[in-house]
């Protein structure tokens, strides 16, 4: 028989001892270590999970905060935009007002300048018209016209209205019989006689003292001064009337054009 029983018993004992030794030195420490490691890993995993959860929580919190900030920022931005719009509107309005004021001032200046210019034009044209008329009439006037003038004066004297005639007579009595007759050219005797005759009749006088003098500024015409009264027929008178009429007409022309230019602005 190949089995040696004492050896077998010894081997069983040996195996049991080995079992105990390996259990003591190999399996238990190793298995404990592995279990500890497993536990450690599980702990670490749990810790990692916890940290991940915490991180996610923090991330959510910060995400919310960011969103809040973003909303706040948007609100601020909108407010700033609104304020800027208001400020711009305000400034534009102010600028518009200033421009309008300046424009008004400018228009006023312009209108003033135009008025001044028109006034100058008016004056100049009046002067020119008068100068031309005066020159033309002066060129045409001569002694022959004087007789015509005297005739016209006499006709006028005869056609005086009663009130004028009465006031003339009254002033004649106050002053005395001295009557001053002015003419552009020296009057002929016939003309003098006609004038004196007419004055006598119209003023109801017996005698008459007449002093003649020459007044070239009359251009062509006759002038009779009795005290404060003046009775005349002269081109100068007509020219004065013309000057007045021209002044009136030019003013009327200037005013509407100035008004229309205002309206156009």
């Amino acid at each position: 028989m190949l089995i040696d029983w004492p050896t077998t018993v010894a081997q069983i004992i040996n195996f049991l001892i080995l079992l105990f030794l390996l259990r003591r030195f190999l399996y238990r420490p190793l298995i404990d270590t592995m279990a500890a490691r497993r536990e450690e890993i599980a702990q670490e995993f749990m810790e990692a999970q916890r940290q991940t959860d915490e991180a996610q929580r923090v991330q959510r919190v910060y995400g919310d905060k960011l969103a809040e900030w973003e909303t706040h920022r948007q609100a601020l931005l909108e407010e700033a935009h609104r304020d800027a719009d208001h400020a711009r509107e305000h400034m534009l309005e102010q600028a518009r007002r200033e421009v309008a004021a300046e424009k008004a001032a400018w228009l006023e200046d312009l209108s003033h300048e135009r008025a001044v210019f028109l006034e100058k034009v008016r004056r100049l044209s009046r002067q020119q018209v008068l100068a031309i008329s005066r020159q033309v009439l002066r060129d045409l006037a001569d002694a022959d016209i004087e007789s015509g003038v005297a005739a016209a004066f006499v006709a006028r004297l005869r056609n005086l209205d009663s009130a004028t005639r009465l006031s003339l007579r009254k002033s004649m009595n106050q002053v005395g019989q001295e009557i001053a007759v002015g003419s552009a050219f020296s009057l002929s005797d016939r003309s003098r006689q006609a004038v004196e005759e007419a004055l006598k009749q119209e003023l109801d006088l017996e005698t008459l003292k007449v002093s003649y003098r020459q007044m070239p500024e009359l251009i062509a015409g006759l002038e009779v001064r009795i005290g404060g009264h003046k009775l005349s027929w002269s081109v100068d008178d007509y020219l004065h009337t013309l000057q007045d009429s021209l002044a009136d007409v030019l003013s009327e022309v200037a005013e509407p054009s100035g008004a229309s230019s205002h309206a156009a602005d």
């Binding site: 029983w5 040996n14 420490p29």
Partner: protein, 239 residues
């Protein structure tokens, strides 16, 4: 030339005869114990040393194999089955060392290991599922099967012992014979072959032990499984 190292007597210690089988077993035990101690005296949970890594891998491998073969939690069996496997493995590997006779090449050793398994099976069976329930497995499926179950219990112990012995011993024998016939090269090839068969025998011995222990403890496990399944079904129905 010796068929078994039992006959190589080293010295006599009173009534005890210390032969090569016992002596080389002590050598193997010393190597394994000291090696384990050296590695496990400063274990860490991080920054593993090379050796710690290797041993952890081996233990994990054994546990995984036990789980795969027995379909049970390996923790109660790792020490026993792991020690069997490692002892046979180390003994076989050391056969490469000239002058070393693997203790597993002695029928006394393999018989001793088989006897250990023979007793371990009921021990595990009783601790896992209780005495009454374990004894009931002998009259399963019917009372008539009792003698056959008992015979089976013994025969498989014998088969385990002879299988391991035969393989390890034959490997050593073939090498010894070939060394006398062809002195060079061929014995080395045969020795490598013997090494492989030795490793395979260590594996087979461990797997068979796992199967026996697993079959002895499974009935309780099955019952638990059934209970769990029933509970699960009930939960489903409630849902």
């Amino acid at each position: 030339m010796t068929i078994t190292p039992d006959t190589l007597v080293w010295f006599e210690l009173g009534p005890l005869t210390i032969n090569a089988t016992i002596g080389f077993t002590w050598v193997v035990m010393a190597i394994m114990t000291i090696g384990s101690w050296l590695v496990t005296r400063d274990l860490t949970t991080s920054a593993l040393s090379w050796w710690q890594n290797l041993l952890e891998y081996v233990v994990e491998l054994i546990a995984a194999q036990i789980r795969e073969v027995s379909d049970q939690s390996p923790s109660p069996f790792v020490t026993f089955i792991g020690t069997l496997f490692l002892f046979i493995l180390v003994s076989t590997l050391l056969a490469l060392v000239p002058g070393f006779y693997p203790p597993t090449a002695s029928l006394s050793t393999t018989a001793a290991l088989a006897i250990c398994v023979f007793f371990a099976v009921p021990v595990f069976g009783i601790t896992q599922q209780g005495l009454r329930r374990y004894l009931r497995t002998y009259i399963q499926p019917s009372f008539i099967m009792l003698p056959f179950n008992i015979i089976g219990e013994f025969s498989r112990t014998l088969a385990l012992a002879v299988r391991l012995y035969g393989n390890v011993m034959s490997g050593s024998m073939i090498v010894a014979i070939l060394v006398t016939i062809v002195p060079l090269l061929f014995p080395i090839v045969m020795q490598v072959l013997g090494l492989i068969t030795g490793v395979i025998q260590a594996y087979i011995f461990a797997v068979l032990t796992t199967l026996f222990i697993g079959s002895a403890t499974r009935s309780r496990h099955d019952t638990l499984d059934k209970q769990t399944n029933t509970q699960a079904k009930e939960i489903h129905q409630h849902e």
